[in-house]
Symmetry: D2
């Protein structure tokens, strides 16, 4: 459907990297996204320059903040990379120790505090992490050259300080069928042809967090594969502006408030998340950027290890939780209710739940174990426990925040009414609470809570907490697999005085 | 500020009623709202005809459905009124028995199923109910003529089949101060002058559910009053188009989707709620429509009895809960996941929570007791228990619905993208799930769940469930008051073998 | 094994009743249990006179209280029986209206308050209730004489004011096999032979609440049956002292404290529950007392209707909940902590949960509908919802009670230590709390909470709440069956704008 | 009251240690408790030799297992002590790193798995830990010699491998009064006189876990003190057999089953917990063993740091949780129900909750920070979060275990009935479930679950989880103190666009 520009088709890896220049600051990052000529649709329109689109920009700002944090707090947000023997953004750093994972978690929480939304860079980091061991393991088994290709790619990525997006979730079509069984073969992304220089893929990746804001997209399988699914067992690095890509932007609650004048009703005017459907039509990947091609039996461990990393990455929500606690405490104060014991008690409960999530995340990081490739991986059980708590507690925290906010959060008139010559004075008169708190502060805080519990960033704080890195049932399946019932039955039988021989006769 | 039209000022009650004609159908109702010349602001603009405004109309449709139900199912939604010896809409009927309250609850649940939102007519009914006994009790104590005035007003209201809105919640200003202590006396609505023909009030009522869609607004105190607050202890009936009223429309999550073309992204295109700030500037009320004027000690029982009725009215949320269960079951089916045991189990849990709410509501109705005026009132403890469960369970039900919906609910592109010549085919290709379910059905169902859990009707299903008829702590205070600890301590002491005399010596 | 006394074998129904004389008081009841010659084993010993056994007696006292309540509060605990045209104990009354069920619930709550345990008489009442309609329906289909036999039996039961126990739960053996497939045919109770005068049954009934304290045991099927299970589809009335019965008493937590001197450590010295295994060896039932014999297809509705009644009967736990609330409030007071806001808040939560259970129960009663036989039956959905809440909330209430009790509840020395000449003074010195509260009152209250949350009556308050009338999953299955998903899907589809025709094409 | 033996009175520290010889094995430990001549009362009797008492012995066995584990798994349960340059039992090891705390947590979980009860040695370890920094800090401020005394004591303790019990909780009397304000000065333990050789204390310590099984008791303040409470601000080491001590044993649910023959009904026949009241009557402590005497302002930090260690020590309950999961899985299997999806789902939930506790504990250990004395201390917030989850989740886990157990758990006859010639065959016939599982295995597993949810070890698994190391509200207060609201408000204000200057004017 899109017209393919054949001259760009079979670029080498080097040619692709040649178009980049190292990003040093947040501003560099924003500029790096300009003039890429990507095909983007949003609300039925093709967007000429996404960087300047009011709905898209907050999501770019959130990623920009990951660069700014590296500048502002290098101890937290950078690490020394032995690959290039230089400091790199921690979002591009290979995990060399449990402490690296803990520092990552702290950085994620901090980013959540700064942006109050999904800053979209974790899945890419977790992709880098999982590929380290998976490429190593494939090479060991098959003598393939994936691990070196991976290291080469990562060196360039670190030097250029780029964003890598994780293209994992296929549309999946009829869920009762395997990839190769689907009526439409494209419902899982797959290799549609191979040449001397590389391979071509067709399909789509759904729910791509920050897809449009990434310099590279790593395509990878979304689930275990069988031999018949071989062409679907593909991992490769695709530039975000590759020929054949089409981005279709996902709607979010209250997204069009970004188009309104005034910043109050947006709640969080600066930052937002981004989810896109990315369609791949015969998209070329040079062999240097192919990291799996048919080794289907590695799809399952790839997904399992990815979730071990990624489910702990949901610690970011504790940063958003900190914002919720702060917002709830602020609005209680503005309402003059902060001394009430039930208010304090609710703030304690919000904190308790938030810190419970935090503890599961960092526990899974501290308890990380090395894999054969030398990289460390989060403890699987605890990472699943972390994510499973994330599917529950933010909803409770959000409810408490709404409780403390009061009903005004959903009955408040628009900023335009507050600014209007007729209604403005009436609203300022009647919405004055504590005399020392400006009405505007109160409305701003209410709009922030609305933003995070019903509005645009509720997507990131709530629904993504439920489904990102796997829906609740996915964690339960992993917990079921890892819970070692036989060992625990042994403890019980031992204490109960049941001997194993006894099970043969009464 | 608004220019007062003196000729209209001191209308008699009869003159006011003369402008009405009986409403027989839902269409009659919609027409009755046209050309009223009310002053309404919405998003910084004065609205010429609210009835035709796309954001406002869904809230009118919801009220229209209360008329349509009376036509379609008179057994459920009408009752015989002894006052006018004719059938009346149940929303205008005096409670003559516990069964009347149960039928009201059933009607409310049905209305929730039909509209999936707040249909805005319950507070008015509960206001009528509480005034029956309060006017009676005041007259008994003071020989005032309120009860007859009330009955006269209600006869007209029933004959004309009008909507009565409850103007209860004052802006309240500094919550540590009583009404008469506020820096600005208008922060609680109050009588500002009295004439031979009536009295005038100034102030505002916040969070007025369906305020703009009502023919009459009943102003009444929002909390207990002291003698110094006498001028604030006022109850009266004000026509919705009275001189001196200004309506300022409250924003809701995703409200402006109503302005977009296409009906899919709205989620629930037909129905919505409405919350307004209503400002009263020197608004006249003829004596015939004054039902309290200074009897401050009745403010407290008025609020208490109102909440007894109104907290059970939140049974309406079980109707919305039915929609949530149905939506969750539908999307699970469309996703091809409805046979999974964990899906069924979540639907069971949603139903269990929803029916628990229902049981508390109807129990409080079945257990109603008569007051001295002859009207029946819900059991207070059980009504508070009902509402308290409403502050919790809809949030859980909503989370389950989001769980079953899957992440697509918050990453789905806009309808305009689905309809676009370039992106439409891609989206229909890649969002096909079960082959026998149209992509559009799937997107519609996802948008409905979004609407009720994050969007416009999440206001009604969630936040209003939290704060309407009193925030959670308000119910806890009532439960504390009603829980009869001494009686229960007696049971425990009796079983423990503790004699009361024993407390005097060891 | 037991020696059968042949002369007693084929007693007629009349002969069996002739051994009874009307019970008028609680004392009459206790005396009626004496000298029955029943075969009872408890802790490895055959008990000569159960009535005087310290472990058994508290369970008899609980049933005695059902008689005493009828004397003390006849309005609550008696009803007019049209069958004998006289007042009868409400535990023997046929449900003639929803109000009868509501009154039953109130009586059950009251009994819970009085006894703080399981008073063992509900299952018998619910058995009477279900047999009214089931015998009627069998007769209608088959022309059998069961309904008249049933009425005759009930008249005698009412005249003699007896206790009827429900013998429902078979041991079940291998749960993957039907009754007739079991290796040992006795694992479900069944007819083993028939004579002209009656039939004989063999098998056992487990978990028989109050089995030993009953004058009659109604045996009935525990689950649905197939044609091959015909001999297992039997309902009949067996005197508690019938030849061939052996009772083996179930242990309960802390049961042997009843054997200790002193009443403090017992917690609730007067009242307790009782669970027995009742073994039936070739036990005769005259035809007049046979109410089902082979009509296997009625086993399933019999169980379903029984649970509709019986799951609402768990409202009794709100009476125990009242005791828990009172005990928690008392101990907080004795500890000097009752003014703390978090204490009050926990008491509110306990009450809220308790009243939620109550509301589900009485709602299911108020919403009862008549069956063809003329008897009313609880609303099934709400009865299941009630019981399902009972499987959860008492555990939470118990945890709150333990919270308020403080750790002393499980570290307190024995009464013998308090009474000892050396340790007594030390304990009275060091366990003095608030100076005006006797140490003994504090210890008594702590022991009561221990009794209900860990001790003997924790069996009745907690574990029985979980499993009685069906374990949690049993309610979930019933809720699944009754939740009318298609209707609810219709609401959602209607609001989402999905037309049914649309499912045929996209 | 007790006759004081003056010759023993003023023993030196050296004399006291001289009575010990190094404990090398679990058996050594048991023998070390013999013939100590301690004054112990249990159920109104003075116990000649506690070691051989059937109720007491299981609690000794649990401590014995801490010695056995050191032998069986030295990597887990020992550490190298730089103080004596030798391996020591980890329960006597100074925390030199976060990893030491993590290893401690793993050992605690393992001990929970082995014993299924409270093994009573954690509070002593946490006492040692807190004294390291507190004695150091006191010396720094006042030039006192406490830290060296502490190190000397610890060297001896390590060499002799003794048990140290924590004597913290005073009876407290009237909770509205400070120690020195109590009517009876002994309601808080205090110095009653001082001599050249040492000081004497009088009072009592309640809830002393494993008090009787300890070689030494460390007395210390239970809460913050003021100058007027100086004599109550005392820390000292007292031998468990010191003159002037009286132990009064606390009852536990089902404690007397230990006196019955047969081991099945005990549930866990080998292991149990122990709580005692220890009365101190003019008990001498030589100066070498006095570690605080009047430095009242250190009482508060001492308690705070103790709870930081001790609240994370409740990780032991995850070991008991493992037993619960194993017992629930076993009984489900024995019942033939283990393949049901709802059963698996409940096991997953139990595991999820259990691992959530574990993650909070080890997170607080991994995140430990060094204090000035060089010792590491758990992260306070996360330790409180851990303990707060412990006050909730074991109750839920226990409920799930009871759910899977089925009602038989509370209706099962006694072992004596199973062994009886008449009833034994009946019980084995009727309680046969899955044909390949012995009836005895099933009954043993049910009794274990009873033991841990209602019986003796429910004290340790449930009530102690609630109140040990501080009741729930104590954690909430600590979380309130540590939750840094101002910082979090700042995040919210920043995102909402509220500038601090704005709070001065509107």
């Amino acid at each position: 459907m899109t017209t393919i520009k054949p001259t760009q088709r079979e670029e080498t890896a080097a040619e692709r990297w040649a178009r980049f220049s190292p990003i040093r600051t947040g501003d560099d990052y924003v500029n790096s996204l300009r003039d890429r000529g990507v095909t983007v649709y949003l609300m039925g329109e093709k967007i000429a320059e996404p960087v300047d689109h009011p709905i898209i920009r907050p999501s770019i700002n959130a990623l920009q903040a990951t660069y700014d944090l590296a500048t502002d707090n290098p101890e937290l947000a950078t690490a020394h990379s032995p690959l290039i023997n230089a400091p790199v953004n921690r979002f591009l750093h290979i995990v060399e120790s449990p402490q690296d994972l803990v520092m990552k978690n702290r950085m994620q929480r901090r980013m959540g505090q700064i942006t109050g939304t999904c800053f979209q860079r974790c899945a890419g980091l977790d992709t880098i992490s999982v590929l380290h061991s998976i490429t190593y393991d494939m090479d060991k088994k098959y003598g393939t050259p994936y691990h070196q290709r991976y290291l080469d790619f990562l060196c360039e990525a670190q030097r250029n300080n780029v964003i890598i997006g994780a293209g994992m979730t296929d549309p999946k079509g009829d869920r009762s069928k395997r990839p190769h069984e689907q009526a439409d073969p494209d419902l899982f992304l797959h290799v549609n042809r191979r040449t001397e220089k590389g391979l071509y893929v067709t399909g789509a990746k759904a729910h791509m967090t920050g897809g449009l804001n990434s310099h590279w997209i790593c395509i990878m399988p979304t689930m275990n594969m069988t031999e018949a699914d071989k062409d679907y067992a593909v991992v490769g690095m695709v530039p975000g502006d590759a020929v054949g890509l089409t981005y279709i932007y996902g709607r979010q609650s209250c997204d069009t408030r970004a188009l309104e004048s005034g910043d109050i009703d947006k709640g969080n005017a600066r930052f937002g998340g981004q989810e896109t459907l990315v369609v791949f039509e015969d998209v070329f990947i040079p062999w240097e950027h192919v990291l799996m091609d048919g080794e289907y039996e590695f799809a399952q461990p790839m997904v399992a290890r990815f979730t071990a990393y990624h489910r702990a990455s949901y610690v970011c929500k504790t940063g958003l939780g900190d914002v919720m606690v702060g917002a709830a405490a602020s609005i209680a104060e503005y309402n003059g209710a902060d001394a009430a014991s039930h208010i304090k008690d609710k703030l304690v409960e919000m904190t308790h739940l938030n810190e419970t999530i935090y503890s599961s995340a960092i526990a899974s990081s501290h308890e990380a174990q090395p894999l054969e490739s030398g990289i460390y991986m989060n403890d699987e059980m605890l990472a699943n426990v972390c994510k499973h708590n994330v599917t529950r507690f933010p909803y409770e925290i959000a409810r408490f925040a709404q409780d403390l906010a009061g009903g005004l959060m959903v009955t408040l008139p628009s900023q335009a009414d507050f600014d209007h010559e007729s209604t403005g004075p009436l609203l300022h008169k009647y919405f004055q609470g504590r005399p020392d708190i400006p009405v505007e502060s109160r409305t701003r805080m209410l709009r922030l809570i609305e933003n995070m519990t019903l509005g645009r960033n509720a997507v990131g704080y709530l629904t993504e907490s439920l489904h990102g890195a796997g829906s609740p049932q996915a964690q339960r399946i992993q917990i079921l697999r890892g819970m070692e019932l036989e060992r625990k039955k042994g403890y019980a039988q031992d204490l109960a005085g049941i001997t194993l021989i006894a099970t043969d006769a009464d």
